[in-house]
Symmetry: none
Subunit: 122 residues, 4 copies
């Protein structure tokens, strides 16, 4: 697993984001077992407490569930996963449209350019 951690923002937030990506994209399937905090921490090269904090955040988001004795699993509630996925997608769309707007493109143009690019590759 790839961990891209930079020192300019809280580590646990970056862990949250990157784990979330795996969850909502299905890389870690719904209902599946997560590696232990210790394993994840070693893998990411961070303190277990930091990883713990990230997972606690994800649990409060409803993306993972903690089973007292059986470790953590990805939520089976695919609605939550889909919701978060849509939220992230919306953020990216907004970001894209805003960026293109500063370049002087209307939303319609920004979309048309993507279509042109797509048909060009297809």
């Amino acid at each position: 697993m790839q961990w891209n951690l930079t020192g300019d923002r809280p580590i646990y937030l970056q862990l949250c984001e990157q784990i979330t990506l795996r969850l909502v994209s299905g890389a870690w399937p719904p209902g599946g077992r997560l590696p232990s905090v210790r394993e994840l921490a070693v893998d990411a090269g961070v303190n277990p407490n930091t990883m713990q904090r990230a997972l606690a955040q994800l649990e409060s988001d409803g993306l993972v569930v903690t089973n007292r004795t059986a470790g953590r699993t990805v939520t089976e509630d695919e609605g939550v996963l889909a919701h978060v996925r849509h939220e992230l997608a919306n953020e990216k769309m907004e970001e894209y449209l805003e960026g293109m707007a500063t370049l002087g493109y209307t939303a319609a143009e920004a979309i048309a350019l993507l279509q042109g690019k797509e048909t060009q590759h297809g």
Copy 2:
């Protein structure tokens, strides 16, 4: 003028990017006079040398031309401006498609979502 400068990358590069945005989006029109190095430096809150470096870069990019003692002007070659604008737009498109891909969306889906968002607003 808005200057967003962060300490995590060379300031002169950030100045380059933000000035480039104004140029290619037409906020500073082709052939128009630019503020002097000293004015821009004061406005951005940086050392005149740093601003000078940014402008020297833009000149080597062909976006601005310097007239020894008469200040700098935006290039009148709208082809260069358009070319850079398209390059920046392409970067944003790639970034968007890549980001959506990590969320598990195909390019076609990423485009369709934008269209849905657009019709929803329209």
Copy 3:
């Protein structure tokens, strides 16, 4: 190392030219390590920033490559070196023919004179 610096042109440009000469003539061999910016600056009797500027220019010309913490090396791309060498040689040829032309010599005469001089020495 010989440094001929005059005050009538930007020092950094003169540094560029003189370093370029060493590079394309093979005095500093392809792939070889360059002295550090600070060493070169002391040697040439200029400010490190000025030498840095010259080397940055040479890097953008593709003649040298910088390895973040391991100093700079001459490019291993002998094609670039040869190309620049040919460019400089062409400049000198043009300059020679022009100078002889102002003296009233045709290009053919200017060449013949060189041949005479050569056989005279040989």
Copy 4:
């Protein structure tokens, strides 16, 4: 007449060189009358004393002769003119060969390149 005068060397020397060029290249023909010092000085935009000094130098070189009452004329001794012309040509040849030598070319190569350039244009 074109006068290229820079402030980095004595003016009278630069005048000497540029007048010499006209003389040996035949632009001002042997035996011909020279403009008056005053005219030349105005034309070149220099003090008449400076022009006077230049002409005195040329006279001592034997390139011009002063006729007490009839102004100055170019020498009729074409041998002197030819000699100076050859000297200047030799200087340019030396300069060329030296320049090419610093680029790593032998004299033979330097000559061959000129021949190649010439046939290419012919």
